[in-house]
Symmetry: C2
Subunit: 198 residues, 2 copies
DNA sequence: ACATGTTCTTGACGTCGTGTCAAATACTTT
DNA sequence: AAAGTATTTGACACGACGTCAAGAACATGT
C-alpha cells in the first residue's frame, strides 16, 4: 500500500476549525484542502464526502468537549459545579473571533434542514447524542447533589431544563453577541434550579 | 413600464415555504422559480439576490407571526396566556411534515455563520429584531400580570428566561423531534416562572 | 394613432462547488 | 526484482449563483 501523505487527525482538526468558522455549507473542500496542504481528491478518498468529513471532525470535537465538561462538573459544591458548567458552555461558543457559536446547535440547525433523510439523519443523531450525554452528566451531578442535601427537585426534569437553557443561550449568543447577558441568564437559571428544584 | 407577470407576495410566500423546508443554502433559486412559475432572472431583477429574497420573505413571515403571538398572549389569566404562548411557539415550529423547526432559530444559526459581514449582518439583525419584539411582548404580559397580582418576580428577567427556553426548545425539537418532551419543558418553565418569579 | 421610453423577461455566459473516474505514483509483500 | 494495493492527481460532468445584453410589453406624449 502507498502510505498517506497527511495526518488523519490533523486534517480532522483543520476541517472542524473551518466548519466552525464558516459553517458546513459555507466551507468548501477546496478551502480545507488548501489549508491542510492536501489535494481535494485525497479528502474524498479518505473521508468519502464533505458531510462524512464533517461528521468525523465533529465526533472528534464532541469527545474532547465532553471530557472538558465532565471535568468542570467534577469538583466543589453543587452551585460551583453548575457555575463551572455554564462557564465552560458559554466560553466554548464564544471562542475564536468572531465568536463561533455552539458547533452542536449550529450543525443541528444547518444539517437537519434537508428534506431527504440520507446522511443528515446520521448527523442529527450525532448532535442529539452529545446533547443526551451532557444531559446525563448534569443529571448525575444533580442526583449526587440531592444525596448531599444540596438539591431537592427532580434531577431529570432539572437537567432537561438546564440543557434547554444552554441551547437557548447558544441561539441568543448568535442573535445579540452580548456575553454579559448570557452570564446573567445562566446565573439566574442556577438560582432557580437550586432554590426551587428545577 | 412593462408590468410584472407574477405576484410579489405570492413569490415571497412560496420562497419562504421552500427556505423553511430545505434551508436557505439548501434551496436554489431554480427551485423557487419553478415552483412560482417565474424565470430565475426575474427573481434577481425583482429581489436582487438569494439572501435578499430570503430576508424579504422572512420579514413577511415575522410580521404575521408576531401578530399571532400577540393574539395568543392577549386573553385569560397569566398562566393561560403563557400556556397559549408556548403552545403557539411549539406548534409553529412543528408545522409541516417533517417538522420544519423554528425559522428564526434556523436562519440565525445558518446565516450568521459566514465570516464576512456583508448581508449576513442584516439578516442577523432581522432575526434579533423578531426575538426582541417577542421578548417585549412577554415582558409586557408579565408586567400586566404583576399589576393584577398574578406574578411577583422581575418581568424583564423572567421574559428573558422564557425567551431563552423557547429558543432552546427550537433546538431540542430538531435534535429529538419529541413534542411531548417539549410540552413538558414548557409547562415546567411556566410553573417555575409563576411560582418563583422567573 | 404612433413613436418613445421604461421596465420586465429571457437565454447565454462565467465562475465556483461537489463528486466521480481513470491514469500515474509510491510503497509493501512475495 | 516483480506484482499488488492503496493513494494521489488532474480532467470531467453537473448544478448553483449571479451578470449581461437583447427582446418584449406596456405607459406616455405628441
Amino acid at each position: 500500500m502507498r502510505p498517506r501523505e497527511f495526518d488523519h487527525d490533523d486534517v480532522l482538526r483543520i476541517a472542524f476549525d473551518q466548519f466552525w468558522r464558516k459553517g458546513v455549507r459555507g466551507t468548501s473542500l477546496s478551502d480545507i484542502a488548501r489549508d491542510a496542504g492536501v489535494q481535494r481528491g485525497s479528502l474524498y478518498n479518505a473521508f468519502g464526502s464533505k458531510e462524512a468529513l464533517f461528521l468525523q471532525a465533529y465526533e472528534r470535537y464532541a469527545g474532547d468537549y465532553l471530557l472538558a465538561l465532565q471535568k468542570a462538573l467534577g469538583t466543589g459544591s453543587l452551585r460551583k459545579r453548575l457555575t463551572a458548567f455554564f462557564d465552560l458552555t458559554i466560553t466554548n461558543f464564544r471562542s475564536g473571533s468572531p465568536p463561533r457559536g455552539c458547533p452542536t446547535t449550529r450543525g443541528l440547525m444547518e444539517l437537519g434542514a434537508a428534506e431527504g433523510e440520507g446522511l443528515d439523519e446520521e448527523a442529527r443523531q450525532a448532535f442529539a447524542h452529545l446533547i443526551s450525554r451532557i444531559t446525563a452528566l448534569v443529571q448525575d451531578t444533580l442526583s449526587a447533589g440531592a444525596k448531599r442535601g444540596e438539591f431537592k427537585g427532580n434531577p431529570a426534569a432539572a437537567a432537561l431544563h438546564i440543557i434547554t437553557v444552554t441551547r437557548g443561550l447558544a441561539v441568543l449568543e448568535r442573535a445579540y453577541g452580548d456575553e454579559a447577558q448570557l452570564r446573567k441568564i445562566a446565573s439566574h437559571t442556577i438560582d432557580l434550579v437550586l432554590e426551587k428544584g428545577g
